[in-house]
Symmetry: C2
């Protein structure tokens, strides 16, 4: 297998994740190309000092790169892949990776288009706000990155994915698509939905209680932090992972209803169990680092 330094990388979509990948992968590839439907985003990236060569068209992008990283919203993955694939005339790219938040549905589509060159990545890192302005070289440092391959994935593509994961400072977690989508529903998608619902209700509440914002502190800010992400992200998660999310959402609604009917004593027991669960989940995260 060729070394990364012999290959040209193409990043499609230069938002928080794509821009951070371009920053973090500087120096690892022969060249880095970037393409975005909004040319202003590419300009902004260059102004920020992120090092890449701008592509104006899909043709230019496809002709320039050996490895593709798709960092566009899930809803555009299929369309962009279908646009790009025919532009690689004789041979597909060496590897095609997406960094989307769900893997089962999208993975099947990607495999149908890209075959054994496709592998899914999902770096578990983000920020309060999205967009190229927030991109950071260190975003993925010490983060976990899911590596989602299938039976058909070329072993050399898996090897390349691991080199990229290591280059951005992340640690790989191997998951099959079903397990990936089930786990991220719990650690990421439902937390976003809950943060969003809480911010939604608080917004309504503020209409009748204008002093509410004066009393807001770190607790509210932390609990709703994920509600400041882009609205399309939650919509795309729901669109492609509603099975797993729905099951968890039902359990969450049931738990909140149990709280609703509970005595203070029962609330205390449940809150203690929840406290211990959080400690267990977070402590195992730290131990496994």
């Amino acid at each position: 297998m060729k070394d990364l330094s012999e290959l040209r990388l193409g990043i499609a979509g230069l938002g928080l994740i794509g821009g951070s990948l371009a920053s973090a992968l500087r120096g690892y590839f022969k060249e880095i190309y970037a393409w975005d439907i909004d040319p202003g985003v590419l300009e902004k990236g260059l102004d920020m000092g992120i090092s890449f060569i701008s592509c104006e068209t899909a043709e230019e992008f496809a002709n320039s790169c050996d490895v593709i990283l798709l960092a566009v919203p899930l809803r555009y993955m299929e369309e962009i892949s279908k646009t790009l694939r025919p532009l690689f005339k004789d041979s597909p790219p060496v590897a095609v990776m997406d960094v989307g938040s769900t893997k089962k549905e999208i993975g099947e589509i990607m495999i149908s288009i890209w075959g054994s060159a496709y592998i899914g990545l999902h770096p578990m890192a983000g920020k309060e706000y999205s967009g190229i302005e927030q991109a950071s070289r260190s975003l993925f440092q010490d983060a976990r990155c899911a590596v989602v391959s299938g039976k058909e994935t070329d072993p050399q593509v898996i090897e390349m994915a691991l080199k990229i994961v290591s280059s951005i400072g992340s640690m790989p977690v191997f998951l099959d698509p079903e397990e990936h989508d089930s786990i991220v529903a719990s650690v990421s998608h439902i937390p976003i939905m809950v943060a969003s619902a809480l911010a939604y209700v608080s917004g309504e509440q503020m209409e009748s209680h204008p002093d509410l914002s004066c009393m807001v502190a770190g607790g509210f800010s932390d609990t709703t932090r994920l509600a400041s992400g882009p609205a399309w992200l939650l919509a795309d998660m729901w669109d492609t992972n509603s099975g797993n999310m729905g099951k968890l959402l039902d359990r969450l609604i049931d738990t909140l209803r149990t709280f609703r009917e509970a005595s203070p004593e029962v609330i205390e027991e449940m809150a203690e169990k929840a406290r211990l669960s959080r400690e267990k989940i977070l402590s195992q995260r730290i131990q496994s680092d």
Copy 2:
């Protein structure tokens, strides 16, 4: 009115809040006394370098102080007040303040015991973990602190409360008990309950998905941060503010059910509305600082 420096302060309950108050108020009062049902906590506070005089009994505490700050869990406020009040033989203390999370129910009890000397305070500050070990001199710096007085409150007591709020570096927000409890249900109590429910469900989920903890990142950690507070806190909030909390909880459950049944398009509209609500709530907080 006497200056704080002429008065002896007594703090009952030396946890995160009581300990931080003792630290932050150092040098403002003639002397600071502290009393806790757990003598180990007082020792720990002294070991940490927090400056106060330990009281072993309620009698010693009552005989030592002119101003009382009650920083015990809500469930002990009444009992402790009823123990202390008769120990002030001829005259009640100059001022009695509690720093509990709800004000209506407790306020009425406090007024029945302490009369015009009582005023409620509620500093909007906390930490991920509780207990004296977490106490910090700067906990209240730049925080808001609700000042909840009634018609019967002695104006000199209000003045003293404001001096204390200013001494700990906080800014006062005047609220009546009903408005206070309604607002904190939204910015604090329901966020704690939601964080707790989410940690609860994730704990169940981890039983069938042991890899879950490997994939946990900042989003889950932030959204559930409040679940690591003491379980009694949520129980006491529910015990004394279930009216306001229940109404909001119903709206939150309704919102989550709407999400459950929604198309990705509707999810996106709602998530965008939630995003804007959060920005509005937080931006007004910053502007009013």
